[in-house]
């Protein structure tokens, strides 16, 4: 299975990987290192004096009730986005896996949201949900629901969860569909012959065989919800109202770029980096163990 190309020297291979290495260094390692350094410093409001403060930023951070609230909020947000997008992706993929008319068109349409830029999708959702001009927003108000995500924190949270999940459904859909299609048809047929029907068959045969795919998606979705939703949230609510939708990434941006507390913001991004590394390591270990057997 393994395909190897042996290069005679080291110059050509180095040249070939250089663009990727340079990009990774400039856009990942360098900022990460700077962030790690800045997380140990405190800069004055004008950026003139930089003081090394050790782990003080981290101590302050975890002592800050607002930060702890943001952690909790992020956990809730990630869980909700993951559950919603994975659940929808699963349902839609199961539906698309059947023999049905216009199956290919349906599949293509399902994949589109993934290609929509976060800010654009945010605007789409605002145009739907805005209490004054949004189709759904006006509908809700017309039916006596006091809908205003600019004032009501829970409603704002609901909206960013919806918009964020919507973008990720496509991704989950593709992977679950591929997972479903890799289950041998004969196994499903064998279950039918054994007398297993609909939901029972799905629960006892399809779902267990799909579980590696689902686990992979849970991790990917968690990472997505924790990090890639910044654009969507910022475009919709800027973390408001009253920090109700301020997840950790939004807080990093807010504290660093808006409030110019570079030390604390850097410390927060270091915490996030540790989180992502942990999640990825967990996934690699799990996948590695599965393929190893």
């Amino acid at each position: 299975m393994e395909r190897r190309t042996i290069f005679a020297g080291w110059k050509l291979p180095l040249l070939l990987v250089a663009p990727q290495l340079v990009l990774t260094f400039v856009f990942f390692y360098w900022p990460a290192l700077v962030a790690a350094y800045e997380s140990l410093t405190r800069t004055d409001a004008f950026g003139i004096h930089v003081v090394f403060v050790g782990l003080a930023n981290f101590r302050d951070l975890f002592a800050d009730p607002l930060y702890r609230a943001a952690i909790l909020r992020t956990v809730e947000f990630c869980a909700a986005v993951t559950a919603l997008s994975l659940g929808l992706g699963l349902v839609l993929a199961v539906a698309a896996d059947r023999e049905l008319r216009g199956r290919n068109l349906y599949r293509v349409l399902m994949i589109w949201p993934y290609a929509v830029a976060p800010a654009v999708s945010a605007v789409l959702w605002i145009l739907l949900l805005n209490p004054q001009i949004g189709l759904v927003g006006r509908f809700l108000i017309a039916h006596g629901i006091r809908w205003d995500y600019a004032l009501n924190g829970s409603q704002a949270m609901l909206m960013v969860v919806l918009a964020s999940a919507w973008k990720q459904v496509s991704y989950n859909f593709i992977f679950v569909l591929a997972g479903l299609q890799s289950i041998p048809k004969a196994v499903i047929e064998a279950a039918r012959m054994d007398g297993a029907r609909g939901l029972y068959r799905f629960r006892t045969v399809v779902l267990p065989l799909l579980s590696p795919t689902l686990f992979f998606l849970v991790v990917v979705d968690l990472v997505y919800a924790a990090f890639d939703t910044f654009g969507t949230i910022w475009a919709m609510t800027q973390g408001g109202p009253a920090q109700a939708t301020q997840t950790l990434v939004v807080k990093v941006y807010n504290d660093g770029v808006v409030n110019l507390d570079l030390g604390s913001s850097s410390a927060q991004s270091v915490v996030l980096m540790v989180g992502v590394v942990a999640l990825t390591a967990l996934q690699f270990r799990f996948l590695g163990r599965r393929s190893g057997t």
Partner: protein, 356 residues
């Protein structure tokens, strides 16, 4: 144990009809083997009986009950798949118990039946294993066990031995036959392997291009093939099929090379010159000095016997099976014993029986 009746079963995929009306009746406990080249519709027929495909027309009656429109889960039929289709995430025990659990059997009963079946198949030491920890032959056994343990009305076998190596195939073949006899479950067995078909079936159904060509016991199919397709399909090496014409009075066939073969069993209908195809099995061709000259192109030793592939004087191909090794040269002389001759109409390909 149950009877199976199939009436005028048809199946089309879009505009293409792949099964052109099948009628079948299986007695209780009978093993019917459906044999044919790939694409003849034999697997489709099996899947229709299983309920995995919907027939375009016709009825399937199992044990007196019309199951044509029933979901597979409601038919009480078990199937052994070509690639076994075991549940990869379940142990051997759970694979076998799955169908029983769905039927809501008590736990003790499930345990007892799985143990019994495992003992029958020699699977007891493997019950805790997962399918991927089993060899091909063991998986095959588990697939059999999963079918047997349910005690269904009907067994369906979809080329169950084709993924096994030759040696294992022979022993599993005998084992399937023994088990089926012992359990007495009515069975349909699909294969493209004519040896499997001959050895396993109480009766054979030979299919060709979606049409049932012959339904008879294996020996009858071998001795009296219904048409030239069956004649060429059953038996190795394949029967020699030679062009011939009917002589005056219908008492003999004249081969293209001029040799006249008198019919041993009686006169055939038709005018002089009627186009015939006569068949002779390679093992029935005799080496005989003074017979037709045969130039041998190829000698295929099979151990206890040898197949000679040669040409008659008029370039007609003829294969001959002789006992032992071939020590003769590149030329020999052969004759065709009239008693072993099969006569077919060359246009329709149908067997021509003597006039009474």
């Amino acid at each position: 144990m149950a009877t199976l009746v199939i009436e005028n079963l048809r199946k089309s995929f879009g505009p293409i009809e792949v099964l052109h009306g099948i009628d079948l009746e299986l007695a209780s406990g009978e093993m019917l083997v459906i044999v044919g080249a790939s694409g003849c519709g034999k697997s489709t027929l099996l899947r229709l009986v299983a309920g995995l495909e919907e027939p375009t027309a016709g009825r399937i009656i199992l044990d007196g009950r019309d199951v044509t429109r029933l979901d597979p889960s409601a038919r009480d039929i078990a199937m052994v798949f070509q690639n076994y289709a075991l549940y990869p995430h379940m142990s051997v025990f759970d694979n076998m118990a799955y169908g029983l659990r769905i039927r809501g059997l008590p736990k003790a009963e499930i345990g007892r039946r799985v143990q019994e079946t495992a003992a029958l198949l020699g699977l007891e030491p493997l019950l805790a294993r997962k399918p991927r920890q089993l060899s091909g032959g063991q998986r095959q056994r588990v697939a059999m066990g999963r079918a047997i343990v349910r005690e269904p009305k009907l067994f369906l076998f979809d080329e169950p031995l084709s993924n096994l190596d030759a040696k294992l195939r022979v022993s599993m073949r005998a084992e399937i036959r023994r088990l089926q006899r012992r359990l007495g479950v009515t069975s349909l067995y699909v294969t493209h392997d004519q040896v499997e078909a001959m050895t396993l079936g109480d009766r054979l159904l030979v299919m060709h291009l979606g049409v049932p060509v012959q339904l008879a016991t294996p020996m009858e199919v071998f001795d009296r093939p219904a048409n030239t397709y069956v004649a060429g399909f059953i038996g190795t090496p394949a029967m020699n099929l030679l062009d011939a014409t009917l002589t005056a009075g219908g008492t003999a066939a004249r081969l293209a090379g001029g040799t006249v073969l008198a019919f041993a069993d009686g006169r055939r209908e038709g005018e002089e010159g009627r186009q015939l195809t006569v068949g002779i099995r390679p093992e029935h061709v005799r080496l005989e000095a003074g017979g037709m000259a045969l130039a041998i192109d190829l000698v295929e030793p099979l151990g206890s016997e040898t197949v000679l592939l040669g040409r008659l004087e008029d370039e007609t191909l003829l294969s001959v099976k002789v006992h032992g090794a071939w020590t003769g040269g590149e030329r020999t002389q052969v004759s065709i014993p009239p008693a072993s001759l099969h006569v077919f109409d060359s246009r329709s390909g149908l067997r021509l029986d003597p006039v009474r």
